[in-house]
Subunit: 233 residues, 2 copies
Protein backbone atom coordinates (compact mmCIF):
# COMPACT_ATOMS: atom_id res chain seq x y z
CA UNK A 1 0.00 0.00 0.00
CA UNK A 2 2.83 2.45 0.64
CA UNK A 3 3.47 3.71 -2.88
CA UNK A 4 -0.23 4.41 -3.34
CA UNK A 5 -0.37 6.49 -0.15
CA UNK A 6 2.74 8.36 -1.20
CA UNK A 7 1.26 9.11 -4.62
CA UNK A 8 -1.97 10.31 -3.03
CA UNK A 9 -0.10 12.74 -0.79
CA UNK A 10 1.95 13.95 -3.69
CA UNK A 11 -1.25 14.60 -5.59
CA UNK A 12 -2.82 16.45 -2.70
CA UNK A 13 0.15 18.73 -2.14
CA UNK A 14 0.32 19.49 -5.86
CA UNK A 15 -3.37 20.45 -5.81
CA UNK A 16 -2.68 22.85 -2.94
CA UNK A 17 0.26 24.30 -4.84
CA UNK A 18 -1.81 24.64 -7.99
CA UNK A 19 -4.53 26.48 -6.03
CA UNK A 20 -1.94 28.84 -4.56
CA UNK A 21 -0.44 29.45 -7.99
CA UNK A 22 -3.86 30.20 -9.50
CA UNK A 23 -4.84 32.61 -6.74
CA UNK A 24 -1.52 34.33 -6.27
CA UNK A 25 -0.63 34.91 -9.90
CA UNK A 26 -3.86 36.82 -10.49
CA UNK A 27 -3.72 38.42 -7.04
CA UNK A 28 -0.25 39.82 -7.66
CA UNK A 29 -1.07 40.93 -11.20
CA UNK A 30 -4.58 42.39 -11.34
CA UNK A 31 -4.66 44.63 -8.21
CA UNK A 32 -1.12 45.72 -9.11
CA UNK A 33 -2.17 46.71 -12.61
CA UNK A 34 -5.38 48.35 -11.41
CA UNK A 35 -3.52 50.49 -8.85
CA UNK A 36 -0.90 51.38 -11.47
CA UNK A 37 -3.65 52.30 -13.92
CA UNK A 38 -5.43 54.51 -11.40
CA UNK A 39 -2.11 56.19 -10.52
CA UNK A 40 -2.10 57.39 -14.12
CA UNK A 41 -5.46 59.07 -13.57
CA UNK A 42 -5.71 60.24 -9.94
CA UNK A 43 -3.02 61.79 -7.75
CA UNK A 44 -4.46 60.93 -4.33
CA UNK A 45 -3.76 57.43 -3.02
CA UNK A 46 -6.98 57.29 -1.02
CA UNK A 47 -9.25 56.39 -3.93
CA UNK A 48 -6.69 53.86 -5.15
CA UNK A 49 -6.69 52.11 -1.79
CA UNK A 50 -10.50 51.87 -1.86
CA UNK A 51 -10.55 50.66 -5.47
CA UNK A 52 -7.75 48.19 -4.72
CA UNK A 53 -9.51 46.76 -1.69
CA UNK A 54 -12.78 46.52 -3.60
CA UNK A 55 -10.94 44.68 -6.37
CA UNK A 56 -9.26 42.29 -3.92
CA UNK A 57 -12.62 41.55 -2.29
CA UNK A 58 -14.28 41.06 -5.66
CA UNK A 59 -11.44 39.07 -7.19
CA UNK A 60 -10.88 36.75 -4.24
CA UNK A 61 -14.58 35.94 -3.95
CA UNK A 62 -15.04 35.53 -7.70
CA UNK A 63 -11.99 33.29 -8.00
CA UNK A 64 -12.55 31.42 -4.73
CA UNK A 65 -16.21 30.70 -5.42
CA UNK A 66 -15.30 30.06 -9.02
CA UNK A 67 -12.93 27.37 -7.77
CA UNK A 68 -15.66 25.98 -5.51
CA UNK A 69 -18.09 25.84 -8.40
CA UNK A 70 -15.53 24.16 -10.65
CA UNK A 71 -14.89 21.53 -7.96
CA UNK A 72 -18.60 20.91 -7.41
CA UNK A 73 -19.22 20.67 -11.14
CA UNK A 74 -16.40 18.15 -11.48
CA UNK A 75 -17.96 16.06 -8.71
CA UNK A 76 -21.48 16.20 -10.13
CA UNK A 77 -20.14 15.33 -13.55
CA UNK A 78 -18.21 12.34 -12.15
CA UNK A 79 -21.21 11.04 -10.20
CA UNK A 80 -23.54 11.25 -13.18
CA UNK A 81 -21.00 9.57 -15.48
CA UNK A 82 -20.46 6.69 -13.02
CA UNK A 83 -24.21 6.13 -12.97
CA UNK A 84 -24.32 6.10 -16.74
CA UNK A 85 -21.42 3.68 -17.03
CA UNK A 86 -23.14 1.23 -14.62
CA UNK A 87 -26.30 1.53 -16.67
CA UNK A 88 -24.43 0.91 -19.92
CA UNK A 89 -22.49 -2.05 -18.51
CA UNK A 90 -25.82 -3.60 -17.52
CA UNK A 91 -27.97 -2.69 -20.51
CA UNK A 92 -25.63 -2.05 -23.43
CA UNK A 93 -23.10 -4.72 -22.60
CA UNK A 94 -22.11 -5.55 -26.17
CA UNK A 95 -21.39 -1.90 -26.96
CA UNK A 96 -19.27 -1.55 -23.83
CA UNK A 97 -17.42 -4.73 -24.79
CA UNK A 98 -16.71 -3.15 -28.18
CA UNK A 99 -15.45 0.06 -26.55
CA UNK A 100 -13.18 -1.87 -24.23
CA UNK A 101 -11.77 -3.88 -27.13
CA UNK A 102 -11.25 -0.63 -29.01
CA UNK A 103 -9.16 0.72 -26.14
CA UNK A 104 -6.87 -2.29 -26.31
CA UNK A 105 -6.75 -2.06 -30.11
CA UNK A 106 -5.74 1.61 -29.87
CA UNK A 107 -2.82 0.93 -27.55
CA UNK A 108 -1.57 -1.67 -30.04
CA UNK A 109 -2.56 -5.10 -28.75
CA UNK A 110 -3.23 -7.97 -31.15
CA UNK A 111 -6.77 -9.11 -31.94
CA UNK A 112 -6.31 -12.16 -29.69
CA UNK A 113 -5.12 -10.19 -26.65
CA UNK A 114 -7.88 -7.58 -27.18
CA UNK A 115 -10.47 -10.36 -26.79
CA UNK A 116 -8.81 -11.96 -23.79
CA UNK A 117 -8.11 -8.72 -21.91
CA UNK A 118 -11.66 -7.46 -22.50
CA UNK A 119 -13.09 -10.73 -21.24
CA UNK A 120 -11.03 -10.56 -18.04
CA UNK A 121 -11.93 -6.95 -17.32
CA UNK A 122 -15.64 -7.44 -18.01
CA UNK A 123 -15.71 -10.18 -15.34
CA UNK A 124 -15.66 -7.72 -12.44
CA UNK A 125 -18.33 -5.06 -12.94
CA UNK A 126 -16.99 -2.49 -10.47
CA UNK A 127 -13.51 -2.78 -11.83
CA UNK A 128 -14.83 -2.52 -15.37
CA UNK A 129 -16.70 0.71 -14.61
CA UNK A 130 -13.59 2.07 -12.86
CA UNK A 131 -11.58 1.23 -15.96
CA UNK A 132 -14.06 2.91 -18.31
CA UNK A 133 -14.23 6.02 -16.14
CA UNK A 134 -10.48 6.41 -16.06
CA UNK A 135 -9.40 5.34 -19.54
CA UNK A 136 -12.42 5.76 -21.81
CA UNK A 137 -13.62 9.04 -20.27
CA UNK A 138 -10.36 10.23 -18.68
CA UNK A 139 -12.08 11.05 -15.38
CA UNK A 140 -10.40 10.70 -11.98
CA UNK A 141 -12.51 10.28 -8.86
CA UNK A 142 -12.53 13.77 -7.30
CA UNK A 143 -11.84 14.38 -3.61
CA UNK A 144 -15.22 15.35 -2.07
CA UNK A 145 -13.63 18.01 0.19
CA UNK A 146 -11.65 19.43 -2.69
CA UNK A 147 -14.19 22.09 -3.76
CA UNK A 148 -14.28 23.77 -0.35
CA UNK A 149 -10.52 23.58 0.22
CA UNK A 150 -9.88 24.86 -3.29
CA UNK A 151 -12.15 27.87 -2.74
CA UNK A 152 -10.34 28.83 0.47
CA UNK A 153 -6.84 28.29 -0.91
CA UNK A 154 -7.47 30.26 -4.09
CA UNK A 155 -9.30 33.10 -2.32
CA UNK A 156 -6.68 33.52 0.42
CA UNK A 157 -3.81 33.36 -2.08
CA UNK A 158 -5.49 36.08 -4.10
CA UNK A 159 -5.75 38.29 -1.00
CA UNK A 160 -2.13 37.58 0.00
CA UNK A 161 -0.95 38.41 -3.51
CA UNK A 162 -3.10 41.53 -3.80
CA UNK A 163 -1.97 43.14 -0.53
CA UNK A 164 1.63 43.39 -1.76
CA UNK A 165 1.14 45.85 -4.67
CA UNK A 166 -1.47 47.78 -2.72
CA UNK A 167 0.39 48.33 0.56
CA UNK A 168 2.55 51.32 -0.57
CA UNK A 169 -0.65 53.26 -1.28
CA UNK A 170 -1.71 52.80 2.35
CA UNK A 171 1.27 54.79 3.58
CA UNK A 172 2.13 57.21 0.79
CA UNK A 173 -0.41 59.88 -0.08
CA UNK A 174 0.94 60.82 -3.49
CA UNK A 175 -0.07 58.09 -5.89
CA UNK A 176 2.92 58.53 -8.24
CA UNK A 177 5.35 58.03 -5.35
CA UNK A 178 3.42 55.02 -4.09
CA UNK A 179 3.35 53.58 -7.61
CA UNK A 180 7.16 53.57 -7.82
CA UNK A 181 7.50 51.48 -4.67
CA UNK A 182 4.58 49.28 -5.71
CA UNK A 183 6.23 48.57 -9.08
CA UNK A 184 9.58 47.61 -7.54
CA UNK A 185 8.07 45.49 -4.75
CA UNK A 186 5.58 43.72 -7.01
CA UNK A 187 8.00 42.96 -9.83
CA UNK A 188 10.40 41.42 -7.29
CA UNK A 189 7.57 39.34 -5.83
CA UNK A 190 6.37 38.32 -9.32
CA UNK A 191 9.88 37.20 -10.18
CA UNK A 192 10.29 35.15 -6.99
CA UNK A 193 6.77 33.74 -7.39
CA UNK A 194 7.39 32.95 -11.08
CA UNK A 195 10.61 31.20 -10.13
CA UNK A 196 8.91 28.87 -7.65
CA UNK A 197 5.90 28.37 -9.90
CA UNK A 198 8.22 27.22 -12.69
CA UNK A 199 10.10 24.91 -10.31
CA UNK A 200 6.80 23.33 -9.25
CA UNK A 201 5.49 22.88 -12.80
CA UNK A 202 8.87 21.58 -13.97
CA UNK A 203 9.82 24.19 -16.57
CA UNK A 204 13.05 26.23 -16.77
CA UNK A 205 12.91 28.36 -13.62
CA UNK A 206 14.68 31.51 -14.75
CA UNK A 207 12.87 32.00 -18.06
CA UNK A 208 9.60 31.08 -16.36
CA UNK A 209 10.22 33.78 -13.75
CA UNK A 210 10.96 36.32 -16.50
CA UNK A 211 7.74 35.40 -18.31
CA UNK A 212 5.58 35.82 -15.19
CA UNK A 213 7.22 39.16 -14.38
CA UNK A 214 6.72 40.40 -17.94
CA UNK A 215 3.02 39.55 -17.89
CA UNK A 216 2.57 41.56 -14.70
CA UNK A 217 4.54 44.49 -16.10
CA UNK A 218 2.60 44.46 -19.37
CA UNK A 219 -0.76 44.32 -17.62
CA UNK A 220 0.23 47.24 -15.39
CA UNK A 221 1.60 49.29 -18.27
CA UNK A 222 -1.54 48.69 -20.35
CA UNK A 223 -3.81 49.61 -17.45
CA UNK A 224 -1.75 52.75 -16.81
CA UNK A 225 -1.87 53.76 -20.48
CA UNK A 226 -5.56 53.07 -20.89
CA UNK A 227 -6.51 54.93 -17.71
CA UNK A 228 -4.35 57.93 -18.68
CA UNK A 229 -5.93 57.95 -22.15
CA UNK A 230 -9.48 57.93 -20.78
CA UNK A 231 -8.70 60.50 -18.12
CA UNK A 232 -7.63 62.94 -20.84
CA UNK A 233 -10.66 62.33 -23.08
CA UNK B 1 -11.53 7.59 -39.74
CA UNK B 2 -14.77 9.51 -39.35
CA UNK B 3 -15.42 9.05 -35.63
CA UNK B 4 -11.85 10.17 -34.81
CA UNK B 5 -12.23 13.38 -36.81
CA UNK B 6 -15.55 14.05 -35.19
CA UNK B 7 -14.03 13.56 -31.74
CA UNK B 8 -11.16 15.90 -32.57
CA UNK B 9 -13.54 18.64 -33.67
CA UNK B 10 -15.64 18.14 -30.61
CA UNK B 11 -12.52 18.56 -28.48
CA UNK B 12 -11.48 21.73 -30.30
CA UNK B 13 -14.87 23.38 -29.98
CA UNK B 14 -15.01 22.46 -26.31
CA UNK B 15 -11.62 24.10 -25.76
CA UNK B 16 -12.93 27.29 -27.37
CA UNK B 17 -16.02 27.11 -25.17
CA UNK B 18 -13.92 26.50 -22.10
CA UNK B 19 -11.75 29.55 -22.94
CA UNK B 20 -14.86 31.69 -23.37
CA UNK B 21 -16.28 30.43 -20.09
CA UNK B 22 -13.03 31.18 -18.26
CA UNK B 23 -12.72 34.69 -19.67
CA UNK B 24 -16.33 35.70 -19.52
CA UNK B 25 -17.16 34.45 -16.04
CA UNK B 26 -14.37 36.54 -14.52
CA UNK B 27 -15.02 39.42 -16.95
CA UNK B 28 -18.66 39.64 -15.97
CA UNK B 29 -17.92 39.26 -12.26
CA UNK B 30 -14.80 41.24 -11.32
CA UNK B 31 -15.34 44.54 -13.19
CA UNK B 32 -18.99 44.37 -12.08
CA UNK B 33 -17.99 43.96 -8.45
CA UNK B 34 -15.27 46.59 -8.66
CA UNK B 35 -17.66 49.16 -10.15
CA UNK B 36 -20.28 48.28 -7.52
CA UNK B 37 -17.67 48.61 -4.79
CA UNK B 38 -16.54 52.00 -6.01
CA UNK B 39 -20.17 53.14 -6.24
CA UNK B 40 -20.27 52.66 -2.50
CA UNK B 41 -17.36 55.08 -2.12
CA UNK B 42 -17.56 57.72 -4.86
CA UNK B 43 -20.62 59.44 -6.30
CA UNK B 44 -19.18 60.47 -9.69
CA UNK B 45 -19.20 57.83 -12.41
CA UNK B 46 -16.12 59.24 -14.10
CA UNK B 47 -13.57 57.69 -11.75
CA UNK B 48 -15.48 54.39 -11.86
CA UNK B 49 -15.27 54.31 -15.65
CA UNK B 50 -11.50 54.89 -15.50
CA UNK B 51 -11.02 52.27 -12.78
CA UNK B 52 -13.25 49.85 -14.63
CA UNK B 53 -11.39 50.26 -17.91
CA UNK B 54 -8.05 49.93 -16.13
CA UNK B 55 -9.33 46.73 -14.51
CA UNK B 56 -10.59 45.32 -17.82
CA UNK B 57 -7.23 46.10 -19.45
CA UNK B 58 -5.33 44.57 -16.54
CA UNK B 59 -7.62 41.57 -16.17
CA UNK B 60 -7.82 40.69 -19.85
CA UNK B 61 -4.05 40.89 -20.28
CA UNK B 62 -3.32 39.01 -17.05
CA UNK B 63 -5.82 36.28 -17.90
CA UNK B 64 -5.04 36.16 -21.61
CA UNK B 65 -1.28 36.01 -21.17
CA UNK B 66 -1.84 33.71 -18.22
CA UNK B 67 -3.67 31.38 -20.60
CA UNK B 68 -0.83 31.71 -23.10
CA UNK B 69 1.73 30.86 -20.46
CA UNK B 70 -0.29 27.89 -19.26
CA UNK B 71 -0.50 26.60 -22.85
CA UNK B 72 3.23 27.08 -23.43
CA UNK B 73 4.07 25.41 -20.12
CA UNK B 74 1.88 22.44 -21.01
CA UNK B 75 3.69 22.11 -24.35
CA UNK B 76 7.19 22.40 -22.84
CA UNK B 77 6.22 19.88 -20.20
CA UNK B 78 4.91 17.43 -22.80
CA UNK B 79 8.02 17.77 -24.98
CA UNK B 80 10.40 17.20 -22.07
CA UNK B 81 8.40 14.20 -20.83
CA UNK B 82 8.37 12.59 -24.30
CA UNK B 83 12.14 12.94 -24.42
CA UNK B 84 12.46 11.33 -21.00
CA UNK B 85 10.18 8.44 -21.93
CA UNK B 86 12.27 7.70 -25.06
CA UNK B 87 15.39 7.78 -22.92
CA UNK B 88 13.85 5.46 -20.34
CA UNK B 89 12.53 3.05 -22.95
CA UNK B 90 16.08 2.83 -24.36
CA UNK B 91 18.13 2.83 -21.17
CA UNK B 92 15.84 1.65 -18.38
CA UNK B 93 13.94 -0.93 -20.39
CA UNK B 94 13.32 -3.38 -17.55
CA UNK B 95 11.87 -0.67 -15.32
CA UNK B 96 9.55 0.50 -18.10
CA UNK B 97 8.50 -3.10 -18.67
CA UNK B 98 7.64 -3.31 -14.96
CA UNK B 99 5.61 -0.08 -15.13
CA UNK B 100 3.71 -1.28 -18.18
CA UNK B 101 2.94 -4.59 -16.49
CA UNK B 102 1.80 -2.67 -13.42
CA UNK B 103 -0.67 -0.71 -15.54
CA UNK B 104 -2.24 -3.93 -16.79
CA UNK B 105 -2.21 -5.38 -13.27
CA UNK B 106 -4.03 -2.28 -11.98
CA UNK B 107 -6.84 -2.54 -14.50
CA UNK B 108 -7.36 -6.15 -13.45
CA UNK B 109 -5.69 -8.39 -16.01
CA UNK B 110 -4.29 -11.79 -15.04
CA UNK B 111 -0.55 -12.34 -14.65
CA UNK B 112 -0.43 -14.14 -17.98
CA UNK B 113 -2.17 -11.40 -19.95
CA UNK B 114 -0.05 -8.73 -18.22
CA UNK B 115 3.06 -10.41 -19.61
CA UNK B 116 1.66 -10.88 -23.11
CA UNK B 117 0.17 -7.41 -23.45
CA UNK B 118 3.37 -5.79 -22.21
CA UNK B 119 5.41 -7.79 -24.66
CA UNK B 120 3.22 -6.72 -27.58
CA UNK B 121 3.26 -3.06 -26.64
CA UNK B 122 7.02 -2.98 -26.07
CA UNK B 123 7.54 -4.22 -29.65
CA UNK B 124 6.81 -0.84 -31.21
CA UNK B 125 8.84 1.85 -29.47
CA UNK B 126 6.86 4.90 -30.68
CA UNK B 127 3.60 3.28 -29.75
CA UNK B 128 4.99 2.29 -26.36
CA UNK B 129 6.07 5.86 -25.59
CA UNK B 130 2.65 7.13 -26.74
CA UNK B 131 1.04 4.64 -24.40
CA UNK B 132 3.21 5.64 -21.43
CA UNK B 133 2.59 9.34 -22.04
CA UNK B 134 -1.14 8.87 -22.14
CA UNK B 135 -1.78 6.24 -19.49
CA UNK B 136 1.19 6.30 -17.12
CA UNK B 137 1.56 10.08 -17.06
CA UNK B 138 -1.96 11.08 -18.15
CA UNK B 139 -0.63 13.59 -20.70
CA UNK B 140 -2.36 14.36 -24.00
CA UNK B 141 -0.35 15.80 -26.90
CA UNK B 142 -1.18 19.52 -26.82
CA UNK B 143 -2.16 21.48 -29.95
CA UNK B 144 0.86 23.75 -30.76
CA UNK B 145 -1.38 26.69 -31.75
CA UNK B 146 -3.47 26.29 -28.63
CA UNK B 147 -1.51 28.73 -26.43
CA UNK B 148 -1.96 31.69 -28.77
CA UNK B 149 -5.60 30.95 -29.54
CA UNK B 150 -6.32 30.44 -25.86
CA UNK B 151 -4.79 33.80 -24.96
CA UNK B 152 -6.91 35.63 -27.52
CA UNK B 153 -10.14 33.81 -26.67
CA UNK B 154 -9.79 34.32 -22.93
CA UNK B 155 -8.69 37.96 -23.22
CA UNK B 156 -11.47 38.95 -25.65
CA UNK B 157 -14.11 37.12 -23.60
CA UNK B 158 -12.95 39.00 -20.51
CA UNK B 159 -13.32 42.32 -22.35
CA UNK B 160 -16.73 41.37 -23.74
CA UNK B 161 -17.88 40.33 -20.27
CA UNK B 162 -16.43 43.41 -18.57
CA UNK B 163 -18.03 45.98 -20.87
CA UNK B 164 -21.55 44.91 -19.82
CA UNK B 165 -21.43 45.92 -16.14
CA UNK B 166 -19.40 49.01 -16.93
CA UNK B 167 -21.49 50.50 -19.73
CA UNK B 168 -24.17 52.19 -17.56
CA UNK B 169 -21.43 54.26 -15.91
CA UNK B 170 -20.47 55.64 -19.34
CA UNK B 171 -23.85 57.29 -19.74
CA UNK B 172 -25.07 58.03 -16.23
CA UNK B 173 -23.13 60.54 -14.18
CA UNK B 174 -24.48 59.60 -10.74
CA UNK B 175 -22.79 56.38 -9.70
CA UNK B 176 -25.68 55.13 -7.56
CA UNK B 177 -28.10 55.42 -10.50
CA UNK B 178 -25.62 53.74 -12.83
CA UNK B 179 -25.11 50.97 -10.27
CA UNK B 180 -28.81 50.06 -10.27
CA UNK B 181 -28.85 49.51 -14.04
CA UNK B 182 -25.49 47.74 -13.89
CA UNK B 183 -26.79 45.32 -11.24
CA UNK B 184 -29.92 44.44 -13.21
CA UNK B 185 -28.13 44.10 -16.56
CA UNK B 186 -25.21 42.10 -15.15
CA UNK B 187 -27.30 39.71 -13.07
CA UNK B 188 -29.43 38.92 -16.13
CA UNK B 189 -26.29 38.33 -18.20
CA UNK B 190 -24.75 36.20 -15.44
CA UNK B 191 -27.88 34.09 -15.32
CA UNK B 192 -27.99 33.59 -19.09
CA UNK B 193 -24.25 32.94 -19.17
CA UNK B 194 -24.50 30.51 -16.23
CA UNK B 195 -27.32 28.69 -17.98
CA UNK B 196 -25.29 28.08 -21.15
CA UNK B 197 -22.14 27.32 -19.17
CA UNK B 198 -24.03 24.62 -17.27
CA UNK B 199 -25.50 23.21 -20.49
CA UNK B 200 -21.99 22.99 -21.95
CA UNK B 201 -20.43 21.35 -18.88
CA UNK B 202 -23.37 18.99 -18.56
CA UNK B 203 -24.75 19.95 -15.13
CA UNK B 204 -28.31 20.96 -14.25
CA UNK B 205 -28.76 24.21 -16.17
CA UNK B 206 -31.12 26.11 -13.89
CA UNK B 207 -29.31 25.51 -10.59
CA UNK B 208 -26.00 26.14 -12.38
CA UNK B 209 -27.30 29.49 -13.59
CA UNK B 210 -28.44 30.37 -10.06
CA UNK B 211 -25.01 29.46 -8.66
CA UNK B 212 -23.13 31.63 -11.18
CA UNK B 213 -25.49 34.56 -10.57
CA UNK B 214 -25.09 34.23 -6.79
CA UNK B 215 -21.30 34.30 -7.02
CA UNK B 216 -21.43 37.52 -9.01
CA UNK B 217 -23.92 39.08 -6.59
CA UNK B 218 -21.86 38.06 -3.56
CA UNK B 219 -18.63 39.40 -5.04
CA UNK B 220 -20.32 42.72 -5.85
CA UNK B 221 -21.96 42.97 -2.42
CA UNK B 222 -18.67 42.22 -0.67
CA UNK B 223 -16.78 44.78 -2.75
CA UNK B 224 -19.49 47.35 -2.09
CA UNK B 225 -19.42 46.69 1.66
CA UNK B 226 -15.65 46.69 1.94
CA UNK B 227 -15.27 49.89 -0.10
CA UNK B 228 -17.96 51.63 1.96
CA UNK B 229 -16.26 50.53 5.17
CA UNK B 230 -12.85 51.82 4.09
CA UNK B 231 -14.29 55.06 2.76
CA UNK B 232 -15.73 55.82 6.21
CA UNK B 233 -12.53 54.94 8.08
Amino acid sequence: MEPAIHKEEHLRSSQLLSDIVIGMSDGLTVPFALAAGLSGAVSNSNIIVIAGIAEIAAGSIAMGLGGYLAGKTEQDHYTSEVKREYYEVDHLRSREIEETKEFFANIGLSEKLQEQATEEIANDKDRWVDFMMKYELGLEKPDPKRATKSALNIGLSYIAGGIIPLSPYFFINNSTDALKISVVATLICLFVFGYFKSKVTGVAAFSGAVRVTLIGAMAAAAAFGVAKFFENH
